[in-house]
Amino acid sequence: MTSNDDQTRPTEPVMGDMPEKTDPLDHLLSVDEPEKTDLHDHLLTVEEDLEGNTDRSYSQGALVLRRFLRHRGAMVAVGGLVIVLLLAFTSIGVGPLPGWWPKNYSDLYPLMNGGAPTMKLWPPAIGEHPFGQDTIGKDYFAQVMRGAQISLFIAFAVGIMATIIGTIIGAAAGYLRGFVEAFLMRTTDLFIIIPTLVLAAVLGQMASKAGVIALALVLGLVSWTGLARLVRAEVLSLREREFVAAARAIGTPTPRIIMRHILPNALGTIVVNATLLISAAILIESALSFLGFGVKPPDTSLGLLISNYQSALTTRPWLFWWPGVFILAIALCVNFIGDGLRDAFDPRQQMD
């Protein structure tokens, strides 16, 4: 997470022969056990002795991870997202790699039972077309999986790109202040005042001819603004902290201060908002495809599927429900993960 990991550092200098499996934070609680008897030992060193608890040490990152892993909602969401990811990418395969599902999302199959889903809960059975078939007989399970693949790819690509752009712009504006800040933040304002959907629609229209990757790029280019503002705000407060003053007093060059001292401390803000960006990107892509500006046939996405079959809601409701459920599941899972991360980074919110 931080760049310090790659530095050489002695591996556990004097802690070799220490008992392993004790909680390193025991010393925080050790107030509990001994009473009067060892009071005198304590008196000699009022400051807690470091030697007494030499086990593995917890970095801030490790503490965050520990809290995250204990967040029940977030863990369920991680499980849910992993299942969706596995299902989407293993079932119909990716590119040349084949999946375990025998059917293809573009081939036509004979219509069975008016295309109704064959999946049954009891007795559990998958059947020929678990999610049913569309009006011309394409396998809907394969289509939804393909749609989920595209939507997930776009969401993560947008999330990552917007995070990188937003972090760079926010950090530069926040740390350098002055003209740089004014220029960058007014540019950000410029992006904010144009409705994202309209801008994305115009650019997406042009880009979607070039395929999904171009669409992801365009969406990434318009959705970094919120993150840039948040990162700037965080950096503004971090740059006044004394450890930054200490770094400047040593003569640390500016890029190093930003990379080593400021950004790792702004990681909480960045990570939490990146997850929220991802779930927002899913929704934006769905909306764009629904409006016909996003992913173009013959490729498909969850939004496009809904758009294609919106009129079928009464006659063939599964054509509407399945992609809807997947959009909902992905967005919900990502949001919950973001929530868990926020609680993990800021445990004070949970106290009381």
Binding site: E48, A249, I250, P264
Partner: protein, 580 residues
Amino acid sequence: MTPHTNTNTPAYNAETDPVLKFSQLDVNFKTEFGRVHAVKGLDLQVMPGEVVALVGESGSGKSVTATTALGLLPKTARIGGQTLVADKIINELSERGLRSVRGNRVAMVFQEPMTALNPVIRIGEQLTEAMEVHGIAHGREAWDRAVGLLEAVGIPAARRRAREFPHELSGGMRQRVVIAMALACDPEVIIADEPTTALDVTVQADILDLLRSLKDQLNTGILLITHNMGVVADMADRVAVMFKGEIVERGTVEEVLLNPQHPYTRRLLDAVPHLGAGHGQFGTSPLPVAADAGMALEVKDLVVEYKREGKKPFRAVDGVSIDVRRGEIVGLVGESGSGKSTIGRALLGLIPSTSGEVRVLGTDALSVRGKGGNELRKRIGVIFQDPAASLNPRLPVGDVIAEPMSVHKVARGKEREKKVLDLLEAVQLPRSAYNRYPHELSGGQRQRVSIARALSLQPDLLIADEPTSALDVSVQASVLEMLIGLQREFGFACLFISHDLAVIDSLAHRVVVMQYGKVVERGNRDQVLMNPQEEYTKRLLAAAPVPNPIEQKRRRDERHALLASLGDEIVTLDTRELSM
């Protein structure tokens, strides 16, 4: 239990029974990693008109104890035993019952007057709030009483002040407002949690005078929580020393401070720096400066201004000249707002200087740029006040200490690692601290880390900005001792910025006193501290409390005499204003 009392609580007698009583108080906190036992079966009582000081270092559980009296502990706390305010058992009260006690029977004076007052509400309204909540006074009447309270705590032009907002008052005035708020409902007991820690010494002395008159004139019981032994000597009738959740010693202030029995109390008292004890009070004293020592730092007519939107710039440092010779420790003393920290930051190039000349080790520090500037920075070390804030929380200790070396590309790999381990040894930290993170260390250990970082390039000049004021006294003593030892070993020159005259007395060769951005007095340590010439220095020295109740009483009388001779008033509670 006599037959004619129909309740099983004995009748409460307001004259002779304690106003605040903790019996077998036991507090547990649930934390992320299990339970922490903060208070272990504590017994303590405060009688009306009595000041009981609860003394201890951070983490001893003293604030937790006091907070139980208001029922304000977070839900993660499990409380055993009883806390009684007059005849009410706090642990058994409902939320509604608690509200009727808070502010009304027991009131609190907080440490930080900046944050204890709501910045968007007028002072008068903050005062009337408690009165209206408890139905003591309403509307006009409450407002008049608020003005009366402000006058009683010695705020001039109270009628106008009541309409002002907290930011328009100075720190000392704000603390008086907080005390007035505590008095608003005429409580039986006031809990003062470090009431003067955030204040300058001269202001602290005024606030202590005010609190003292409070117990004499209103017969209020005061539970004073503090770590400052000087404040205890000045204020308390009885003292209880707390250590790791237990009271280890208790008695009258004379017994405890003059004849401590428990080893912890003795340690605590030994660690308090004594004004007038001079060098060597912590075991080592700095070497005398060589007669032919060159100049490490020369500051001439330094001016630092802060630009203000639409107003003329604020001159924080106004034509200050200081010089430090090689191997010399110069103490820079002043109260908040004197510009002493601004000088430190300007010398480090963290804020631009408006005019003047700064020569560090013979190089003009203000005009030097680029490579020369880096060379210069290598030779200056810096220690900041708050070790919790000045260490990057994301870096382990070893990286923190190695940071200056890696910035200046000094040593690498194994060699750098060895240097870091040597430095850890020099600041008396175990080698295992190498992989620890700052949040796993105590305050004193963190400050040792930041000293190790400051010394990692073997600087010729060290700028220490209040390096011990965020530490407990026993930790402060060991850090000072270590710092003096390191100075003997490395021989660096040091500009030691502090507000604490006793700390300066223990290590400085020379002293410079600042007020409002200007140098007021300068000279050798004993000359300035023992025989001050300027009025401001005299005030400063008179206001610093010493941890000896008898001597402190004498000093207090001397200070009152000094104030009288200077034509100032001594702050007391003016009860005529409270007759309503």
